[in-house]
Symmetry: C2
Subunit: 233 residues, 2 copies
DNA sequence: TCTTATTAGTGTATTTTTTACACTTTGACA
DNA sequence: TGTCAAAGTGTAAAAAATACACTAATAAGA
């Protein structure tokens, strides 16, 4: 350590960055928000929004900052995904990246995004462009994680509006899990959990029977969880 | 980037390290392998084995190296757990740590460890000493992860000998999940999966009916998995 | 205002899975 | 040869998951 007491070791350090896989949903297929790279390498290619970690911020704080700066996304569900550390994953130099995934209410986002000049676009998950760096790997892992998690944690609601119909919820689950679900069994199960608040409000201006709105009751969820309840769909 | 083409950014970088939560089992309670710190900070305190990441190795390679250098453990199951990045998690300076968890066959390990002079010791999970840094958090998370994973991935076998009795397997699951399991139902389920090879060998020198040995059939597991089979216990 | 199109909303019977439960067998040792 | 300790084994009941089809409501268009 010699004259330097600030550093615990002298050999070269990898740079540290975060990248974000951002999921959105608007009724059809599951979507990802990608940004176009402005600089080399991979200039003009699509990539996950990402950036370097400042010396005084956690990687999660960094991911949230990047989410806002590069994608215009704020106040959303975010969770650490995996840390990618292949020495050659970035052609410039050694960069270790802590990947996060975020669940965004697309409607809300689109309002914000309209005001910005960010080069960010939604892509259907089944129709993604080739991505820069190892971002393809990150996306693959994020989809897998979302699929796995959505069945035993009520995180799907993050992708919907505050109020939603049971059909919207079902469509979302079908989009994530990739298989059709029986309507009656789905409703029976989800309502049986007691996590949804039935609202006194229905859809308007639909050319069919209007569906009732529900909202996710987070308070009930936490209380039940404390009593040993396990969400499972 | 100007004159500097080697570095993608100039501001100070966190140091990068890995720490390993090492699980072992010998029939009673689940155990953790801890090492005594030789240097400050936390000199003479118990901690997870850990160390800095070299510039040309992945974090996983680093974890495996540390596992061997500091705990004498080689060729074991290892999986990335989580990346810890609180700016003050290390009193020396900013160090981001990618935590891993490892599953070790304790019998095999004890043979190796006997030859070494490492200050490493097994502690029962219910009786851990206070740990250095944020290692307590890491351990907590690792236990949670192991609990969650053991039911839908056949990783428990990593903790047992190549051949094991069904009672040993059951005792292991009981130790991890923390609740008793019905013997007949357990056997029915695990044998029904077709993942265990029945060996023509029984326990010796036991003062009771000798139990049959089984081994985990990894080939069968992979084949079944490809056909859409999902392990679940 | 009547018809059409479209999705909301609902219950039951069957199958599958999970759970609860107790006695006989085996082998070492005293 | 009796005792002790854990191995090994099946069935019935309960719970959960699945399969399945019609009526209700509303807007749009004839």
């Amino acid at each position: 350590m010699k004259q330097n007491t600030r550093h615990t070791y002298e050999f070269p350090r990898p740079a540290l960055a975060t990248d974000c896989v951002i999921f959105g949903f608007d009724g059809g297929e599951l979507k990802l928000l990608l940004t176009e790279r402005e600089k080399e390498p991979f200039r003009n290619k699509w990539a996950l929004p990402g950036g370097f970690v400042f010396i005084e911020e956690t990687t999660e704080a960094c991911a949230k900052r990047i989410l806002f700066e590069k994608a215009g996304v704020k106040h959303v569900f975010i969770e650490q995904l995996y840390t990618f550390s292949e020495p050659d994953r970035d052609p410039r130099e050694r960069i270790v990246s802590v990947a996060y995934f975020a669940l965004v209410n697309k409607h809300q986002y689109d309002v914000i995004a309209g005001r910005d000049t960010l080069k960010a676009e939604w892509f259907e998950i089944s129709n993604l462009p080739k991505l820069a760096f190892d971002h393809g790997k990150m996306v693959k892992m994020a989809i897998q994680r979302l699929k796995g998690k959505v069945s035993y944690q009520p995180i799907g609601f993050e992708l919907l509006d505050e109020k939603f119909t049971l059909s919207q919820l079902q469509t979302l689950y079908e989009a994530i899990l990739g298989n059709p679900i029986d309507k009656r069994n789905f409703r029976k199960k989800i309502l049986g959990m007691g996590l949804l608040t039935e609202l006194n409000e229905k859809e308007k201006n639909v050319a069919r029977k209007a569906a009732r709105y529900y909202s996710f009751n987070n308070k009930a969820y936490k209380e039940l969880t404390q009593k040993g309840f396990h969400f499972e769909l």
